[in-house]
């Protein structure tokens, strides 16, 4: 029964993501990464064959605008999470080994956790101007402390096990031990965390760009799209509904994928207790 549910989460998550990201990527490739054309003469065009969802106040095709936005938002989230995962994991492993360096890392993580991501974003954006880089940095800077904590906790529970002692007896140095024993054994946790982080990162991305702290136009992204369409909530409710639902579908997809992966990857081996779901 649990197996069935496992597969359900995984299947539903992947299906949602595929349904969203495949057309998004195709649109992106088809338009070679450019924003859909502005065509003032055809603003608010109704639903038609060439505009499956109609056009927006600038005459852009809503479908391809939102899909390109979905692609861009996802790319930003993926880069940010990759950064956070790589840096956070490395630092988390240092922290797990303890010592002065480990303590320093943990204090830094505490500091990072005390700064809400929006503060980082607001400051970076004012300093740098709105840019994708600033946004990625803000999301990653918030993700790193969390990643450090997760990694440290996970690595810690591996490092006390006797096979780590055995590896030391075998003469492995700490880097080899990490590469051969710690990382493979905490990988499922990291993978699951990465997919839930992706969901969170997408939400942050949408929130930041909604506030105007995200990447600048003309490249569409979901939060800014929502912000600029929100005024039409009465006269053209679809304009607000479509990007909102797209964010939700993507986030839900990553969340479900995370659930599914957790069951798939963690079940056969010892599950570490106390991992957040």
């Amino acid at each position: 029964m649990t197996r069935l549910r496992t597969n359900r989460s995984l299947i539903a998550g992947s299906a949602l993501l595929l349904a969203c990201l495949v057309p998004a990527t195709l649109t992106w490739i088809w338009r070679s990464g450019r924003s859909p054309l502005i065509d003032i003469a055809h603003r608010y065009a109704p639903i038609s064959f060439s505009h499956p969802l109609g056009t927006d106040p600038f005459g852009r095709d809503i479908a391809s605008y939102v899909l390109t936005g979905a692609f861009n938002s996802t790319v930003i989230a993926v880069i940010a999470v990759t950064l956070a995962t790589v840096i956070g994991t490395a630092l988390g492993l240092v922290a797990a080994y303890g010592g002065v360096r480990g303590k320093a890392v943990m204090s830094t993580a505490d500091l990072g956790l005390a700064f809400p991501p929006i503060l980082i974003a607001a400051m970076l954006v004012t300093a740098q101007g709105a840019s994708a880089t600033g946004e990625i940095l803000a999301i990653a800077l918030f993700g790193i402390p969390a990643q450090i904590r997760i990694t440290r906790q996970a690595a810690h529970s591996i490092l006390v096990l006797d096979y780590i002692a055995a590896a030391r007896m075998a003469g492995l140095n700490s880097i080899d031990t990490i590469l051969r024993h710690v990382l493979p054994n905490i990988a499922p946790i990291l993978i699951v965390h990465a997919s839930t982080s992706l969901a969170l990162a997408l939400l942050s991305e949408a929130g930041l760009s909604y506030l105007g702290l995200g990447a600048p136009p003309p490249q569409p992204d979901l939060g800014r799209t929502l912000a600029s369409y929100q005024i039409h909530i009465f006269d053209h409710p679809l304009l607000v509904a479509i990007p909102g639902v797209t964010v939700m579908v993507l986030v839900l997809g990553f969340n479900l994928l995370g659930d599914g992966l957790r069951d798939l990857l963690e079940r056969p081996f010892n599950r570490l207790k106390g991992q957040p779901s």
């Binding site: 054309l37 502005i38 003032i40 003469a41 603003r43 106040p57 600038f58 954006v125 004012t126 101007g129 709105a130 105007g212 600048p216 136009p217 003309p218 600029s228 929100q230 005024i231 039409h232 909530i233 009465f234 006269d235």
Partner: protein, 471 residues
């Protein structure tokens, strides 16, 4: 029964309420002729009228002004108005330590002398034809030395309304001045509520939480008020001039052909479609249609991308040239920039959009003049003179324009001034230092029973003394 309070929506919260410290339009909206009064005032048609100065004469070839002050005027804290207040206020505005936004204007005042408490004689360094016009500005308000330094948080003037409270982030409340020297206002209290989000503002209007919203910022949702029995939308004018400012000191904008090409490349009617929902005027020069001196010049640069490409080719600009378009954080600037970028892309230019928030825009673009292109609307009335400034951010310099402007400034004959003003506009239209985009009307949403509210904007102001509820 008739109501005696009113709440007015404004789109931005002022940074303090002291007009001598900040040029923010929001300060004017709240305080101009409500809390503060100057020697003169602008009426709703844009004409100069006496206010604290009952009358005046000019002597010494326009260099000395003799003002007679209103009597029995008291500041809200009870101090009586005397010539000393005029002297204090005007000299303070021009002092070296002054933070007045228009300090250069006040430095032209050589001295203010007080023959008695109700007369003030102002001596200028240089004759200035529009002196009494500029005295109508909010930053020329007459203040009391005892309260001047605290005006930002607790403004005290001589106006018909007393400052009552400021819930920061939400509203400012003004209360009727029971001891007002002039005609007492009918409204007992006026609340200015800060509602930057047009959607929230429209909700509040529909819900009756707001009675009026002058200068409603989103023409695209005015349709929501159409069927409402309580509300109406009134269309007025204001000196709104949206331009695509170009850095004339930088290549390739120092080449007239390039500037012309940009003008040809942009379909300005489409911009009005998107930016003002179709209702606006394509500008040919730096003057809004509501200006008495406005000249309806011929459209020199109708939309013609072919011609634009040719001109660019002539100027040696290769397709794929990269340009940066910076813009401040306002809806019209963002939307217009995005569309302009799309049009320029069609003639082979690649435009990077650079959103800046106000401080950066002011610092980088306006202050240092370091930018390629920027979209901005100038909303000051009658400001063609900025094209003659030395340090103007778009770095326009033209001897012919300068000469014309000198003549214009020196002249005090109304006809000559008009003729010269048209010539100035035409000069700019030929030079196209910036691409003049469009002007748009000013929409006020208000309760049908309100009367007396300013519909046209002559100056950033919302005088409430004459506003009443009709039964």
């Amino acid at each position: 029964q008739t109501r005696d309070t009113m709440s007015i929506g404004v789109s931005i919260e002022p940074p303090g309420l002291d007009p001598t410290r900040s040029p923010s339009e929001a300060i004017g909206t709240i305080t101009y002729n409500n809390v503060f009064e100057g020697l003169t005032r602008l009426d709703r048609d844009g004409h100069v009228q006496p206010l604290l100065a009952r009358a005046w004469t000019v002597s010494d070839e326009g260099r000395v002004y003799h003002f007679t002050l209103q009597e029995n005027v008291h500041f809200h804290d009870g101090t009586p108005l005397t010539c000393e207040n005029v002297r204090f206020s005007l000299l303070r505005a021009g002092a070296t330590s002054s933070t007045n936004p228009d300090r250069t204007f006040f430095t032209n005042i050589a001295d203010v002398s007080c023959p008695d408490t109700t007369h003030a004689d102002i001596t200028l360094k240089k004759a200035h034809g529009s002196f009494t016009y500029e005295l109508t500005w909010n930053d020329a308000s007459i203040l009391s030395p005892s309260s001047a330094d605290k005006n930002a948080s607790h403004p005290i003037g001589t106006g018909p309304f007393l400052f009552q409270a400021w819930q920061r982030g939400d509203h400012v409340t003004l209360f009727r001045n029971p001891d007002y020297w002039g005609k007492a206002p009918e409204l007992k209290a006026v609340t200015f509520r800060f509602m930057p989000d047009p959607l929230a503002a429209s909700n509040a209007l529909l819900a009756g939480e707001l009675d009026a919203y002058p200068s409603f910022p989103a023409p695209e949702i005015l349709g929501r008020f159409a069927g409402n029995p309580n509300l109406k939308v009134v269309r007025g004018t204001f000196p709104f001039k949206a331009i695509l400012a170009l850095n004339n000191a930088r290549r390739p904008f120092n080449d007239l052909r390039v500037r012309q090409a940009l003008a040809y490349a942009i379909d300005r009617k489409a911009l009005i479609q998107a930016g003002a929902d179709g209702d606006g005027t394509v500008l040919q020069s730096h003057m809004a249609p509501n200006d008495p001196d406005y000249a309806a010049l011929p459209d020199r640069y109708p939309y013609n991308p072919e011609r634009a490409r040719e001109l660019l080719k002539e100027a040696g600009i290769k397709p794929g040239t990269q340009l940066t378009l910076s813009y401040p954080p306002i809806t019209y600037a963002r939307d217009t920039s995005e569309i302009v970028a799309a049009y320029l892309e069609q003639v082979g230019l690649i435009v990077t959009l650079q959103p800046l928030e106000w401080p950066s825009w002011l610092g980088r673009v306006f202050g240092q003049g370091s930018f390629d292109m920027t979209v901005i609307a100038h909303t000051e009335p009658h400001d063609i003179g900025i094209y003659d400034r030395d340090n103007i951010y778009f770095h326009y310099k033209n001897p012919q324009f300068h000469e014309l402007f000198e003549q214009y400034e020196a002249s005090d004959n109304a006809e000559d001034r008009h003729r010269l003003s048209v010539a100035l506009q035409d000069r700019l239209a030929q030079d196209e230092p910036n691409v003049f985009l469009y002007s748009r009307p000013r929409d006020t949403v208000l309760n049908r029973r309100i009367s007396g509210l300013w519909i046209d904007q002559q100056i950033a102001a919302c005088p409430m003394a004459d506003v009443t509820w009709q039964p």
